[in-house]
Amino acid sequence: MSGRMIADKVVKYILFASAIISIIIVLAIGFFIFRESIDAWTEIGVSEMLFKTVWRPGIDQYGILAMIAGSLSVTFGAILLGVPLALGCAIFLAEIAPEGVQAVVRPAVQLLAGIPSVVYGLFGMVILVPLIRNIDVPGNSGYGLLAASIVLAVMILPTIASIAEDAIRAVPENYRHGSLALGATKWQTITRVILPAGKSGIIAGVILGVGRALGETMAMIMVIGNSAIMPRPLSSNPLTFFLSQARTLTGNIAVEINYATGIHESALFATGVVLFGLIIVVNASARWIIRSQKYVEKAN
């Protein structure tokens, strides 16, 4: 075999090795986070951790239910605010906006995606929190679920909007022509033909947005208040729920990991395992929806 043939073979194996690296990283992440959390699961107990709401490392209380509730509540708030805006934006970009307007809005959405989360957090601290503090409810500090949901809604907007826009654009032109030819208005075409046809891509976009929301860390620490308590309404008005402080799973890890030792540190890794599990389920369901749609398209 000549030299260049040998080089060819060697290179192939080097490239193969680098392709395998991502598999190794995924396995290593799962392995190390789980290994470090084993002490917590065995010594504290699985149900004790998952279903107790008291998190006080000082007196060996390690319930993470409050943080699970915090993460889910803020994600719910962000979805409530962010999804209508993101979908409206996607429909606008794909179906309504003239090209000149698209050339302004699309880069704006891209730039929103690129702004560092600490900048959003800082903006929330300086603008949103003082505004929310003006709402006259006893115990309202301004920091809490409302501020965090607004910040998070803006952060997931670009993810959802760009995936939903792609899904809408992927609907075949024939569908539009057919509907318009039947005498439907443009808006009827959008709501009754295009959106149902692009449904699965749009849902996948929303789910991926949920994944991003669950994983956001620094901006949440900065505006959510970080009290490790179950979020609850501050007064008899149930809407004051959103003025409650909370702590997310991500925030729990980041705030305490640098000084935690022993079982406390292990409990933080257990928090990471729960977060990792949630994200895997969320992302897998988005992928599953996208896949199943592709099969349907092929079958047609």
Partner: protein, 307 residues
């Protein structure tokens, strides 16, 4: 007869009314969609505008060129954090780029090869694709936790640039792999066939023909990754240590711009300095977006020329 024609007239009238109603409904919703587009742009202008205007007043030559003094009032500038940011970006990409480009080349160029008939290799490739997708969805604090467990504790690299860069490389790896894959797929197959027909080996073809043709796409991936490392905070919060001194080796602790902003806002409450740091970050991100736009425009121009 008369009855019938009046009936038809009535139906026409009803249809016209219905159409009018539909058109009114349409104008309402279309106006609302315009409003949503407008709101999105306004949010961007509000956030970016506020940070730039407010932070701009804190920025001057002294702020940019003196190191932070530490302490509780957040005195001093940001020079060492700018230095550390570039240091970390360079180190992270030095690790991630060869791995990412190599992985993408294997996944695209070798995946369909006949000699790869073995079941083992085939399944490895599909598992690798699945792994890349999984990595792309993992939140950054998990990478931080992983970096803390493996690089900081187990391998004893401590809170250092090396630990942070290794964890950061895991974060940007999927970005580099995906953009490189797209760039490779965009290279016409004729190039490969032409080169192979001239007697070049597969690697010669890849190295001398395919890789140069896909360079702009790969560069886009690298610039995207630069942006992600600059904005990333959670990973570096738990792996980089946070010293505000300029690191002199890869084993030193450090503090990036984004991390500095976080410490200023949360620990010292020096909001004006934090805004100044935020303004520098936002300017960097805007420049990076412009650069990506420029490169990808070049890319499409290149493809057009080829055709």
């Amino acid at each position: 007869m008369d009855e019938r024609s009046s009936e038809i007239a009535l139906i026409h009238k009803a249809q016209a009314l219905n159409l009018k109603k539909e058109h009114r409904r349409q104008s309402f919703w279309v106006a609302l969609m315009w409003l949503f587009g407008l709101i999105t742009v306004s949010i961007l202008i509000l956030v970016v505008g506020y940070v730039l205007l407010k932070g701009g007043t804190a920025i001057n030559w002294e702020f940019l060129t003196t190191p932070p003094k530490g302490g509780l009032s957040g005195e001093g500038g940001i020079s060492t954090t700018i230095g550390t940011t570039f240091y970390l970006v360079g180190l992270t990409l030095l690790i991630a780029t060869p791995l990412g480009v190599g992985a993408a080349m294997f996944l695209i160029e070798y995946a369909g090869e006949q000699s790869l008939g073995s079941k083992f290799l085939r399944s490895m490739i599909s598992i690798a694709n699945f792994a890349v997708e999984t990595l792309a969805g993992i939140p950054s604090i998990i990478y931080g936790l992983f970096g803390y467990a493996l690089f900081v504790s187990t391998l004893k690299f401590g809170f250092s640039l090396l630990s942070a860069a290794l964890a950061g490389a895991c974060l940007v790896l999927p970005t580099i792999i995906r953009t490189t894959e797209e760039a490779l797929l965009a290279v016409p197959d004729d190039y490969r066939r032409g080169s192979l027909a001239l007697g070049a080996t597969k690697w010669q073809t890849l190295y001398r023909v395919v890789l140069p043709a896909s360079t702009p796409g790969i560069i886009t991936g690298i610039i995207l990754s630069v942006g992600r490392v600059i904005s990333e905070t959670a990973i570096f919060y738990v792996t980089l240590g946070g010293s505000y001194r300029m690191p002199t080796s890869v084993m030193d602790s450090g503090r990036t711009l984004a991390l500095h902003l976080y410490y200023l806002a949360m620990d010292t409450r020096a909001f004006d300095k934090a805004m100044g740091t935020g303004a520098v970050l936002v300017v960097m991100i805007i420049l990076i977006n412009l650069l990506i736009d420029f490169v990808s425009r070049k890319l499409t121009a290149g493809v057009r020329r080829v055709r």
